[in-house]
Symmetry: C2
Subunit: 320 residues, 2 copies
């Protein structure tokens, strides 16, 4: 199987009714026609074998996750998907692997009407690079730098499940006692981007980010960009039944420093509480108020009695 056969067989499909795609795979460039007057949102993520996923990872889940982490970036911006490119380095052209990978990739792509429009295929150590494009109305983007003192701090879904599942797979001692983790495994392998919620919050929330490196680190990015601080109620953090089996300090560590959550962390004025609750219900996405933005820089974790908890910030860093 040659390079062009590989693309034709596994990645070129009838483009279907995606009105925004003028020209898809097979030319020097793809051509997209955004809605007139809209802005284009762009994000790129590179996943490396042995770094972002285990060697020998199940390819269908990998296809899902590679796209999901990019869709999550669009969600965090409040953008609507237009399409994506896939650049793929493969040690060899393995037909069964490619079939499963493409199945996982396109199942998610179809669900969000986000077509593959182009890319590159080459031989090399396994590496997946997806660049995604979305669109949104000017002025409505959920940027990191828009948080204001007094804003409520919200998070979607539940935190820390993927981290617990990861620690269990890595053989970490404290994560072995909790038994099977169907939710955690699902969260780790098949994260669900919060696109409906992100789109609904555009123009309502002041700022947002998706939690990929852990609540602590990603909240830190929002605070730094917005030049504000935050006070987070640790006891308000949404706890999952699987995490509840752990001792409390491990629960907190997973929720605060977890990573791979792909939940939305967002800041919104207190007047928007009812609207946010209504929007989240319409999106069938649970949301929880976990704290408040403060005028002074710094991130403070407090328990339900207001006592400050000395939590170390440990965001993931590829070159730390």
């Amino acid at each position: 199987m040659g390079e062009f056969d590989l693309i034709r067989r596994h990645f070129q499909r009838d483009s279907g009714p995606a009105a925004s795609v003028v020209l898809g795979i097979g030319d020097d460039c793809a051509l997209l026609q955004p809605t007139p007057g809209h802005q284009i949102a762009v994000s790129s993520d590179m996943l490396v074998e042995g770094r972002h996923f285990f060697a020998g990872a199940e390819p269908e889940a990998l296809g899902h996750k590679a796209l999901a982490v990019n869709l999550s970036d669009l969600a965090a911006m409040g953008a609507r998907p237009l399409g994506f490119t896939l650049a793929l380095a493969l040690p060899q052209a393995d037909d069964a692997w490619l079939t499963a990978f493409a199945r996982g990739l396109f199942a998610l792509a179809d669900r969000y009407a986000c077509p593959l429009v182009g890319g590159d295929t080459t031989r090399g150590p396994l590496n997946l690079c997806i660049t995604i494009f979305g669109e949104l109305t000017p002025g409505k983007a959920l940027r990191r730098d828009g948080a204001r003192a007094g804003d409520d701090l919200w998070v979607s879904g539940r935190l820390g499940e993927a981290r617990l599942a990861l620690e269990r797979r890595l053989g970490t001692a404290w994560a072995q006692s909790v038994g099977p983790l169907p939710c955690g495994d699902q969260r780790l392998d098949l994260p669900e981007p919060r696109l409906a919620l992100g789109g609904a919050l555009a123009g309502v929330a002041h700022a947002a980010i998706d939690i990929s490196d852990g609540l602590s680190g990603d909240l830190g990015h929002v605070l730094a960009a917005s030049r504000v601080g935050a006070r987070v109620q640790v006891d308000a953090l949404p706890l999952s039944p699987e995490l509840a089996r752990l001792p409390r300090h491990h629960q907190i560590d997973c929720m605060v420093n977890g990573g791979d959550d792909y939940e939305l962390l967002f800041c919104a004025p207190a007047q928007a509480r009812e609207e946010i609750t209504r929007l989240a219900q319409a999106c069938r996405t649970p949301v929880t108020r976990i704290g408040q933005i403060q005028p002074e820089p710094g991130l403070t974790w407090v328990d339900s009695e207001g006592h400050v908890l000395p939590l170390p910030a440990r965001s993931f860093d590829h070159f730390a």
Copy 2:
């Protein structure tokens, strides 16, 4: 040096006066504002160490080439650059390497007003993935499927120089006798995208492609997409002084099956000959008529006396 320091130090710059970039590096997505009514052209290329470039390749040239091959795709579409993302897997955070890489990258980016707007940085086997965005007027794109029987076949610049330089570096016997190759080395390491010519041809030429895998293979893509054939005058192919030192059959092989040329191959009606000559002069880019599009499928190579030459097609294929 951590991941975020690395990005700040080497890749985050004052965005300057790029009106099309609403939001650059540092958020979940970059935000671009295309010219109202325009289409977006998108292309993605992945360069792998030991595959697309030699291990230990000079990083400044690598920064140039990684962006140049993407700009060349925009040129081949007739699009104007808007910006690009860079996803980078690095074995380690080597400050000197990154400084030189960024110098080569930004020198070219600045020359074409094509800002870096986002991307990803991770640890892994050296891999560079650039996705580039351009814009163009609807209906003016230089697609591969627009060639028509009777069209002139044109090529910009000269072909085969990069291939000769590559063979010499690889130690291939026939390429050793030609002596130093300053032009070939320049073409191989620092290719120049034909953006001015591509932009000028939009709306004038019927079809175009950039020659990255070799004239034979890339012309084959145009013919297949347009469902036509072509007759190419081998003696009309633009020969460089460095290639002229080779025996004729090696000259032809380099020009026909070379690769890494990043010249534009385009098809245009005979009535446009004068206009094309004028546009090419205005762009200071030499162009040569090398043949004609035929109604019947198939690619025929002929000499100046009209004799058919039996040239094997040997386009580059990563998985052949």
